[in-house]
């Protein structure tokens, strides 16, 4: 149930996307996030979808698996869609029923915004699926290093991000284990009235917090034992190397952006 969730998960692979420099990937994703907003009618959105599908294929990610993993966000998508359907006015009126009025413009905007959201979700998921947390934080640290001049503790931030990402799956597994243990003791948090369901969460959260705190403490001790003192004097085992293909990847994204800008209406 929880294990099918993909947020923050990394799946090792050997596609060209996997092998790109993580900095190139982050920059591309940020660029793409801007480009997404260039699209303003169906040709633009169509191109966006094609581009993202192409990316998924290149990254060798199973399409069904990807969307199955994002199912958990379905609620937000439906909510956004409905919001636009009910509150955007314009075009011809399709349905009028009491105070509810649905306009054609609303349906179209609803679809567009939802597609936009899905594209953003998918592209960031591709990033985390194809980039190991270590690479990701290395890249964040490098890209953020100019901020050091204004006294931003970028190394510490990167370390925190990498530890958090690293522990998402661990905590998920732990949660699943505790849920199983408590449900073996007859706890029924999947059924029953809301109040009893909320009460049933206590036996899950308390053990979870306890183990999370214990883990954090052990981790801190383990880091100190191995001589971790923060950034000073730290060198990297993995040196990031910018290659031609990384520049090419960014160029592809920029060109796509230009194309999308040209088909604007």
């Amino acid at each position: 149930m929880l294990s099918s969730m993909l947020l923050g998960r990394y799946i090792p692979g050997d596609s060209i996307i996997h092998r790109l420099d993580p900095r190139a990937k982050i920059v591309s994703v940020v660029l793409f996030m801007i480009i997404v907003f260039f699209a303003n009618h169906w040709i633009g959105y169509g191109l966006l979808i094609l581009f993202v599908l192409g990316l998924i294929r290149t990254a060798q990610i199973n399409l069904f698996f990807l969307f199955n993993g994002l199912k958990i966000l379905l609620f937000i998508l439906i909510f956004t869609f409905l919001l636009h359907i009910f509150f955007t006015r314009g075009g011809t009126t399709l349905v009028e029923w009491g105070f509810i009025q649905i306009d054609s413009e609303g349906v179209i905007t609803g679809i567009y915004i939802t597609v936009r959201l899905v594209m953003l979700l998918v592209i960031t998921t591709i990033l985390t699926l194809t980039t190991s947390p270590i690479e990701l934080t290395d890249a964040i640290e490098r890209l953020g290093s100019p901020l050091r001049k204004v006294k931003v503790p970028i190394h510490e931030l990167a370390m925190m991000i990498s530890i958090s990402l690293r522990f998402i799956p661990t905590l998920m597994d732990e949660t699943e284990k505790i849920i199983k243990a408590q449900s073996a003791r007859g706890s029924t948090f999947m059924t029953g009235r809301l109040k009893s369901r909320i009460n049933a969460l206590i036996p899950i959260f308390i053990p979870l917090f306890i183990s999370a705190f214990k883990r954090a403490e052990e981790m801190a001790v383990a880091m100190e034992v191995r001589g971790y003192t923060g950034e000073a004097g730290r060198t990297s085992y993995r040196e990031l190397k910018w290659q031609l293909r990384d520049t090419a990847a960014i160029l592809v994204v920029i060109l796509f952006g230009v194309l999308l800008y040209m088909v604007r209406m």
Partner: protein, 287 residues
């Protein structure tokens, strides 16, 4: 309470890159009142199998029959809840499931979920805590003040208080000190005999299996390789090495002695039995 497993197949993450067949058409039975051990190397499907026995996972294919309740692919929550009443489960590191303010309250959690009144639940909790040797003055203390071994005992009491007819225990001695190890193993044997319940033990410790279990089921790659009386399976050195399992120390010793000409009539199951047999052998030789 009889448990029958019929053609049980279990697949994790069906249809994803992580798809994994954990159990492959497994059929077996667990008879009431016996002490079973499920053995096999890591990834052989032991943990998956036991989770099917009390409805934590439902079969992808096949059925699990618990008494007159049937667990299939689409069994309703209500039935699963019933099954949990009959089949108790002590997970690995059960102390991680403790959460309540006091020891007594934590042990009462299971019985209360099973629909017993506050008074009944408390009576049961007190009974099983005492059985485990927890003094009454400790009932009001926080379970988090205890040592690892003690916490584990409280967690086990929490399952026993539900009075299951079948008790499944998954690696109950992992991470325990030698003294607590023996205490916990003796406890399960005692409750099996005293309350006439079925014990299903999952462990890597072949010494424990040899000393305590009546019957053994050997799994490999999601299938049942062999099942039968413990003394038949755990004395088969070839079979055990084939499946990357340790040979119980006492079996090794007995077999070594046989090669030196000291032959016992049976393979002793524990140290005391070994000493007795050795004495008999010496006495027989002296005559």
């Amino acid at each position: 309470m009889n448990i029958t497993v019929d053609g049980l197949t279990s697949i994790y993450h069906a249809g994803t890159p992580f798809e994994h067949i954990a159990l492959d058409h497994l059929t077996t039975t667990f008879e009431p009142g016996k002490y079973y051990a499920i053995i096999g190397r890591t990834g052989s499907g032991k943990s998956t199998l036991i989770q099917h026995l009390n409805g934590l996972i439902l079969p992808t294919e096949g059925e699990v029959q618990v008494g007159d309740l049937t667990l299939g692919k689409k069994t309703k929550q209500r039935i699963i809840h019933q099954v949990k009443k009959h089949v108790g489960m002590v997970f690995q590191f059960p102390e991680h499931q403790l959460f309540d303010e006091t020891i007594l309250k934590d042990v009462m959690f299971g019985p209360l979920n099973m629909g017993f009144t506050e008074a009944e639940a408390q009576a049961r909790a007190e009974k099983y805590l005492s059985l485990l040797g927890v003094p009454e003055r400790a009932f009001g203390r926080s379970p988090f003040d205890l040592s690892g071994g003690q916490m584990r005992k409280i967690a086990i009491a929490g399952i026993l208080a539900m009075e299951p007819e079948v008790l499944i225990v998954d690696e109950p001695t992992a991470g325990l000190d030698p003294k607590s190890h023996i205490e916990v193993m003796e406890l399960f044997k005692r409750i099996q005999q005293e309350f006439d319940i079925t014990i299903i033990l999952v462990t890597h410790d072949m010494n424990d299996v040899f000393e305590y279990a009546d019957e053994v089921k050997l799994l490999a790659a999601g299938g049942l390789i062999r099942e039968g009386p413990t003394e038949d399976i755990l004395t088969d050195e070839l079979l055990l090495t084939d499946h990357h399992l340790e040979i119980p120390d006492i079996v090794k010793l007995t077999h070594d002695l046989e090669r030196k000409g000291i032959v016992f009539e049976t393979v002793p199951r524990n140290t005391e039995a070994f000493i007795t047999l050795y004495r008999e052998w010496r006495d027989a030789r002296a005559q």
